[in-house]
Each structure stands twice: as C-alpha cells, then as structure tokens.
Symmetry: C2
Subunit: 402 residues, 2 copies
C-alpha cells in the first residue's frame, strides 16, 4: 500500500459519491474514468487502455475493481480496497474479436445479484465506449441504465487541504519546467529540443517531490502555428522574431497545475506587445475580482468586459476546473469559466484561467491556475505574466518581461 | 501543409478504406480514432480530448473533418483535405451540460443529405463514447448504424515503405533512450529521475530526427513492482539487488517502436538469471521461426513450446500489431500474437513481441519490435537481449549482459 491520502479521506469521498447516487436513484455505479477510479480508491496505473472499472454498490461498504488479470496486482497494491474485491478477467478478453470485457463484467454483476438494479454509467467518458455500453445492455437485460456522467467529477470540484498541497507541489514543478523550457529557446534551436527539456523537468520534479506525467503533453506552437493551440512540437527550428507559446502542466500524484506563457525570440512585433498588454490587464482584473459566491459566468463577464475595451472578443471558454486527471485531459469537465455557467465559486475550487487568443497567423496564451480562497484567490505558480523576450542568440540570458 | 507522406499514399489509404466500406455496405464512415484520422488525412494535434471526427462518404472524393472551432486551423494546416471540408462547431459545445458535439455532427450529416444512409461507427474506440453514439442515434433517426470498429486499423496492419522508414527512425530513438535510461539507474537514484532521462531522450530524438511523444509513458517498475506491468514511476529510490524493468517506445511522426529490457542493480538472483535465459531463448526461437504465411497463433505456439520446456506458462498474449498511435495505446487492436489468432503474416506487418512474465513478487520483460520480411523478420532496434547488470554505485559503467 502506498496511498497518497488518508484512508478516511477516501471513505469520505465514497460517502459523498453514495449520497449523489441516492439523489439520482442509482443503486450501482460503474466508474470507468481513471481519475474517478483513482479518486475513490487510489488506483493508479497505465492500464486504462483496456476496459476496467470500479463498481460502487450503494449498500456495500467497499468498491469492486474489475480489470485485466495482469493489472489486478496493481489494484491490490495501490488501493485501499480488500484483495477479494479485486476481480480479474482473463487476457483473451483483451482486443478480441470474439468476446468483450464488458461481457465478463455483466456476468459478474449478475452473479452478485446486481443485474436487475438501477445502474449508473459514465456515458461520455473516454473509457466507456459505445460498444462497452452495448455489451452491458445486451447481457444485463433486466438492469435500468441511467447516465451518471460527471457524478464523481462533481465531488472532485472542491479540493481537500491535502489535494491543495499536492497542487502546490505541482505548481513548483510547473514553474521550474517553464523556466528551463524558456531558457532552451533560441534562434536555430528545434521545437523538439525545447519539448525534451520541459519533459525532463516535469518528470524529474524537484529534489523533494518527483514529477508525474501530465495528462496533456507540453504544447509549444511557434511562429504562424501560435494561432493553432493544440499542435504538438515538430523538428522545425526557431527563427528570430518568432513567438513561441508554451502551455504545460506540473503534475504531482496525478494533480495538475497548468501554466502558459508566450515568448518572443528577439523584439516582439507591436501587435504582439499590444495583445500581451491586453491579456495581462484582463488577467489582473479577473484575479482581483474572484471571490466565493460569484459564478463562473461572472468571472467570464469580467474578462469579456476587460478585453471589449480594446475591441477584442474571445470565442472559446476562459477556463475550467482542474486537478486530478489522466490522459487525454487534465480538465475536470464540470465547471467552465464561460457565459451561462452558473456554478457558484466556493473555497478550494481550483481553475485553470487560460485566456488564449488565437488568430489566423498568430496567437497568445498567458495563463494562471488558481484556488478560490475564503475571500479571494491564491495562484499556484509565481511566474511573471508579460510577454517574455529572449535575446535570440544567447544560451541562457536573463529574459526581459515586457 | 507539412504532410509526412505523399498525397498519393493518403489517397491509396482512402481507396482501401472505401473498398472495405463497400464490402460491409457502409455508405458513410465516422472515424473518431485519432490514429485513423491521422492515417487518412495527416491530421495531427492534441485535440482528441474533445469530440471530433472524419466523415468518409463513399461517393465523395474528400473526407470531411468536423471538430472544435479552435482546432479547425490545425485541420487546415496538417491535412491534405480542402479547407471547405473543415467544419467547426462553436466552443459552447465543449464539456457542456446543455448540448453535445454529436448533436452538431448529426445536424451537419442531415444537412448534406447523409442522414438516411448506412453509417459505420468505431464502436469500441476510446474517442467514441456511449453518449456520442446515443446522441447520433437520437438526431439521425433514419440512419442505419453499423459497427465499423477497426475497419481502418485493418488497412493499417501492412505498412508502406515510408512507414517502415519512420519506424526505423523510431527504433533508433528507442535504442538511444534505453541506453541513457539504463545509464541513469543506480542505487539511491529515484525512479522519476530515470523516467525524466528517458523522456528527454525520447523527445529530443536524434540530431537528424526529432522525437514525438509516445502513446504510453515509459513504464519502469522496480523491485517487487516488477510483477505489476503497468504501474508508472514513483519517487522511490533504487536499492542494490533490485531489478528494474524499462518498457518504452521511440516515436517518430506518431509511429512507435516499443522496446523492453530488464536491469539488475548489482548481481541478479539465480531466479532472475534463469528467467532471463528462458525468455531470451524463447525470443530467439520465435524470431528464427517467423516468416510470411505463418499465423499469429503459430508464433505464439513456438513461444509456448519453448517456455513449456522449463515448466512455464504465460497467461497474457505474446504481442500485437504496432505502428501509428495516439494515447492511450500504441497497439493497433487488430492482430495479437496469441492462441487462436488466425491472422496470416505478410511482409511489412509489424509487431511488438513482448514476452513479459509477471509473478507475485517479481517479473521480467525483454521485448523486440519486428517487421515481417519476404522470408523472415527484421528487428527495428539493435540492443543486447539478456539481463543487463549494473554496477550499483557507478555513474556510467559499462553494463554486463548476462
């Protein structure tokens, strides 16, 4: 056992989950989101590329873990659930043309008398495919299935003090990786070499706290590609006068703190400098407005009003709830900082505020990850917010923030 | 445009896909697997954490790309399809409680007259959730949906010469990362520091060819955890006498070459040495048996007979088809090297042969990635196969292979 949280914290999370199940009339909850599996039991392994799940039964004290035989040892090792609650399917179910792991799951649920109950499933999770649902429906014809998507994510939205502490550690890792990544950028350097340096720092972490893999790879578009936020690095080399966006996340025990900055190799264009000023001003206005009781929509309105003064609109959302995550996303898929989101801010909610602006041939990203406090907000990283100007030829210059 | 393959190669892939659609009576194919999207069009971005797809219409020459507004620029930039075939949904569809991206997709399909056709969907893909399917069914009530899972993956199983060339480059990257990773292992070193070194090398690649991110993080269980294949690294420090398994993949332009080796810090136990000998003998027997015309099942039988001589059985499959991939897997989910798999080997099929053996308190992995040739097989990496013995205290010793 190597649990990152006290067992009482896991039991509290499970209790909160069961209360939500009750409210929705769910008797059995099938959890396929690896972050939710981790949240409730500690389970942590790169095994989510095959079908697996937790089964939460409303009137049973312990979850069941059901997964692949070779992963069962990991479930016994990394979780607080009893060994007898770890149930493994044979390897011939994996990527088979003849049978599906959910056939096995349905059989188990039937055998333990859960086949005719109301069963919640995470309908829109990456790891609950259309086929997985079809097989469950086929082999559990007497069950009533209901959508329980984001049920556990809703519990996750308010962090415990221990979770906040892990995010602070992730924040330190993010700062350090950002600094080293920026230091590696120079005219003639390859995008992949900067990505390699960032990855090295993210995984090494600090001497006190080793890093974990982020759920999204570092994104670092340069030049014209700064207008396209989700392209990954290439082998191309940096040119003098180009901008480079770095969006990364420090990760500690699966808790993420994302951080984005924009770098100019040599003197920035007037346009870029103006954009940077608009974004940093907007960020400052947003951060000083945040307090509990506001809605996510209110935060976005503050931003919208700030940039509207300069005649700018942003098409995409301003941010989202962040924390525990597995690939392909570190966002929690619950609250978004956008118009119409009525989620009311409470202390220990955590968000990535990412006011990226993307145009046809250029773009800018400067972001912060914050925690809502009793009367305002706390940033998880301490990194200068303006456009970072690199001397194009030096190896390790002191950067100017402009 | 920065296409990694000639446009004729993409068109050939599309033709083969359409032939398979015809055989199955599919008029419209919705492709949500990011590897299949890349394979047919070149599309490459970390945007698969939101819903997106390619639409292949049997009687139209060009695929449609449908995805998020901020990703449309990436679709125009990285693919060969015409700009007008790139269709974007507004950001408010993303992680919304009120609407779903598939509602938009259904609307588009209806508008272009495809709503009453036979539509193939990738039922068991990570990026085709139960909810995605439910919404399509709801808003396209006159369509006939059929399972087209792995349809494109079936085309991918035989590589072109250019794909093989990219895998050779990935193999070089894998070799180099394995060497540097092993060099970083010593008594008192942290697992995360070794993972950081490996990642640095994987992403940096070679001076000629920059690395891409692997679809699975490097896995490097040590000590007792070597019995559990999918645990990721921790902050724990290595002890003298422990074993460390490293399973990684070099990746070039999304093409993977996995490679696993097992390291002993100081003298290995007699058990480990004996296991290593059994595994390497088995690998040699398998590699010398491979030739076109055999089935995947035949390969597994060769392995099974080899280890049976020593009284050992392996529960899990021996390997799988490998190549192009996105998280969470680099396997292609088609052919597996296991009993009953009747796939017949053809030249330019590529497999990861991973005869891992996992026990309660220890395990071993030594793997090779190979290409089937006209009369045998070619390995993508050149790395000594035995147990690698590290002097526990030296920084960069010459390792012994025993």
């Amino acid at each position: 056992m190597m649990l990152p949280f006290d067992i009482l914290e896991y039991q509290d999370r499970l209790e909160k989950t069961k209360r939500r199940m009750e409210e929705k009339g769910i008797e059995v909850l099938l959890i396929t989101d690896p972050a939710n599996m981790n949240y409730l039991t500690g389970y942590d392994a790169w095994s989510f590329y095959v079908h697996q799940m937790l089964v939460i039964i409303i009137d049973e004290p312990q979850p069941l873990w059901i997964g692949r035989y070779q992963d069962a040892g990991g479930a016994r090792k990394t979780t607080w659930i009893y060994d007898e609650n770890v149930i493994a399917y044979p390897d011939y179910y994996v990527h088979s043309r003849h049978c599906h792991p959910m056939d096995f799951v349905a059989q188990i649920l039937g055998q333990i008398g859960q086949g005719n109950r109301t069963i919640g499933v995470e309908m829109d999770n990456y790891y609950f495919s259309a086929k997985a649902f079809a097989q469950l429906q086929k082999y559990l014809p007497n069950a009533t299935f209901v959508d329980a998507d984001l049920l556990v994510n809703g519990v996750r939205i308010i962090k415990s003090d221990q979770e906040v502490e892990y995010m602070r550690r992730a924040g330190k890792i993010a700062e350090h990786a950002m600094m080293k990544g920026i230091e590696s950028i120079r005219e003639g350097g390859r995008e992949c070499d900067t990505a390699a340096e960032i990855y090295n720092q993210l995984i090494k972490g600090t001497p006190e706290h080793g890093g974990d893999y982020p759920s999204i790879v570092p994104l670092l578009p340069s030049g014209e590609n700064t207008g396209i936020p989700h392209l990954t690095w290439t082998e191309r080399t940096y040119l003098n006068g180009e901008a480079v966006i770095i969006e990364l996340a420090g990760c500690y025990k699966r808790y993420h703190v994302p951080l984005a900055r924009t770098v100019s190799i040599g003197q920035p264009s007037e346009d870029m400098q103006a954009l940077s000023n608009i974004v940093t001003e907007g960020i400052q206005e947003v951060l000083s407005a945040i307090k509990p009781g506001m809605t996510c929509g209110d935060i976005e309105a503050t931003w919208r009003n700030s940039i509207a003064k300069h005649g700018i609109e942003k098409e995409s959302r301003l941010g989202y709830s962040v924390g525990l995550g597995y690939p392909p996303d570190w966002g929690e898929h619950t609250a978004s900082l956008r118009k119409g989101d009525t989620t009311v801010l409470e202390p220990n909610m955590t968000f990535h505020l990412i006011p990226g602006l993307w145009f046809d041939h250029h773009g800018i990203e400067i972001s912060e990850t914050f925690r809502v406090t009793e009367n305002g907000c706390e940033l998880f990283t301490n990194y200068p917010q303006g456009l970072i100007v690199r001397d194009p030829l030096s190896i390790n210059p002191t950067d100017k923030i402009s």
